[in-house]
């Protein structure tokens, strides 16, 4: 189990189990949000992908962070489809690459992995904060984690601050005008709806906080 100072590969695997459970719990809600401004499949696609990722982790039993990231990335890419598949896939691929062949990350290492992962989503999706996307939850989360780290906060505090920032960022997507993806075709009509991608991204960060600080 998590010891509160390091994140082991087992903790990372537990994070994905937790994420998969939370996605399943929120699948209806995610699909509902997606039906307002997208194509009503975010919950269904993410649930299918996360289940497959959990199975892939059980089958591959990764020993280091790179192996962990790659196993999930390839599974999400090949099962989620749509836009979320390659974006979350890029997240985990970069997360793993950043972590390298180590079996445990300290707080600094874990945040570095998140930074690299979020940058990778931005590059793949060619999106910026403010476009009403996943990035609006993830970028503030990483900024908050980096700030907490600089202040010498504990691993638990770092991820709690990240979660709070992700939640705030998610809520902030509601008044935004979508500039990326299918929602952008709605123009002004995209205003007033919370972004489904930002919502699942908040759940991703929250699952990490719940697992790593447990």
């Amino acid at each position: 189990m998590a010891d509160g100072t390091t994140v082991t590969v087992d903790d990372l695997v537990a994070w994905i189990h937790r994420f998969s459970d939370v996605i399943a719990e929120h699948a209806e809600e995610l699909t509902q949000l997606d039906s307002a401004i997208g194509d009503a499949d975010h919950g269904t696609n993410m649930r299918r992908g996360c289940r497959a990722a959990v199975e892939a982790l059980a089958a591959t039993e990764p020993e280091d962070v790179t192996g962990f990231g790659r196993a999930i990335a390839m599974k999400l890419i090949s099962t989620v489809g749509g836009t979320s598949g390659p974006l979350y896939g890029s997240f985990f691929l970069a997360f793993g690459t950043s972590g390298g062949s180590t079996g445990a990350l300290d707080a600094e290492g874990a945040v570095a992995c998140f930074r690299s992962a979020v940058d990778s989503i931005a590059a793949r999706g060619k999106a910026e904060p403010g476009d009403k996307t996943m990035l609006d939850a993830l970028e503030p989360a990483v900024v908050a984690m980096e700030a907490a780290l600089a202040e010498g906060s504990s691993l638990g505090e770092v991820f709690e601050r990240g979660t709070a920032a992700a939640e705030e960022g998610m809520h902030a997507t509601t008044p935004m005008l979508a500039r990326k993806g299918r929602a952008s075709y709605l123009g002004e009509r995209s205003i007033g709806h919370q972004d489904p991608g930002a919502t699942s991204s908040w759940l991703l960060v929250r699952s990490a906080a719940e697992t790593f600080a447990a």
Partner: protein, 332 residues
């Protein structure tokens, strides 16, 4: 929801099984959902691969065959296919001259095809991609995901397929694809919504007396919603923005493609074709070639789209070249 299906989650898999039985000339990978022409890879020929969400049949699987696509990757209904499918398709059709990906401009399709191209390149396959974005309904395209890829995709697949069959290089086939995209413009209209099997209810709501002008092929919103009107007015609402956009001018020779969204019968398509032809005649635009029928559909949606492609002698010749696929066959 009334549909001739068994289980919603089996729709794509069972349709592919049926397609294989109906068209033994196609090779279908049922694990990855890839449709490949049976003689692929053709040595020395550029491979042409396309793909996208299912629900637009016959696009893309119905265009696999001699003179058109070498492989198609159908995703779940209205959901992009995945890079592993696209990689499999790319490798299956690589005859040593490289592979062209024809991608409709939807965020998911573009991201997945980009990843597939990176994976294929890592495996030593020469891959180029052209993104088709011909839907004039999308305004302010610099502030959105951009114009969607619709009817011009069918024309690009035919023309590039003919060029590849004639032995043109990857660079040449890519240039032709870009030319079709640059000279092709489309606009659609919906009279009814459509229902994705796994969702079970209509993608969007449209009143009995309403139509959505500028609809996307997944039910994306268009430019405006208005009361249903006679075909003559609908034709004008589609043609005017198309002509103004390129712009098409007096003396231009075009290919006119009038397409059903799936639920509109051929008799109505011909009425629209008649109206569009009159409008183009008034503007001095000459219809050199045409295509009328359901070729890029949106499940059972009622409605149609109009696509115009500016022709030159080379494009006309490639359009006329023999093709033999489940959905488009002539000269072969």
């Amino acid at each position: 929801m009334k549909k001739l299906i068994n289980e919603p989650e089996d729709v794509v898999a069972e349709a592919l099984q049926g397609m294989e039985r109906a068209h033994p000339e196609l090779r279908i990978n049922h694990d990855l959902h890839v449709v490949v022409r049976s003689d692929a890879p053709v040595s020395g020929k550029v491979g042409i691969v396309s793909g996208g969400g299912s629900g637009h049949e016959p696009l893309h699987g119905g265009f696999v065959g001699m003179g058109m696509l070498d492989a198609a990757c159908p995703g779940e209904v209205f959901t992009s296919p995945t890079p592993d499918q696209m990689l499999e398709a790319t490798k299956a059709v690589d005859g040593g001259a490289g592979v062209l990906h024809i991608v409709k401009n939807y965020t998911g399709d573009v991201l997945n095809f980009e990843m597939a191209a990176e994976l294929a390149a890592a495996d030593g396959v020469d891959v180029e991609a052209v993104v088709i974005d011909d839907d004039v309904a999308v305004q302010d395209s610099s502030f959105t995901a951009g114009r969607r890829g619709v009817g011009a995709t069918v024309l690009a697949e035919k023309i590039c397929g003919a060029a590849a069959e004639a032995g043109r290089s990857l660079a040449e086939v890519k240039e032709l694809c870009e030319r079709v995209n640059a000279g092709g413009r489309s606009m659609g209209v919906a009279l009814t919504s459509c229902t994705v099997p796994s969702a079970g209810k209509p993608t969007f709501e449209l009143g009995d007396d309403e139509m959505e002008i500028g609809i996307g092929i997944h039910g994306e919103p268009g430019r405006e919603r208005r009361k249903v009107a006679p075909a003559s007015e609908v034709a004008k609402a589609l043609v005017d923005p198309i002509v103004a956009d390129l712009p098409f001018e007096s003396g231009d020779k075009v290919l006119l493609f009038v397409n059903s969204m799936g639920g509109t019968p051929l008799i109505e398509l011909y009425i629209i074709y008649n109206e569009v032809a009159k409008l183009l005649a008034e503007r001095g635009i000459e219809i050199e070639r045409n295509l009328v029928g359901p070729y890029i559909t949106s499940l059972e949606m009622q409605g149609c789209s109009v696509t115009m492609l500016k022709l030159d002698d080379e494009l006309t010749e490639l359009w006329d070249a023999p093709v033999k696929t489940p959905a488009l066959t002539w000269g072969a």
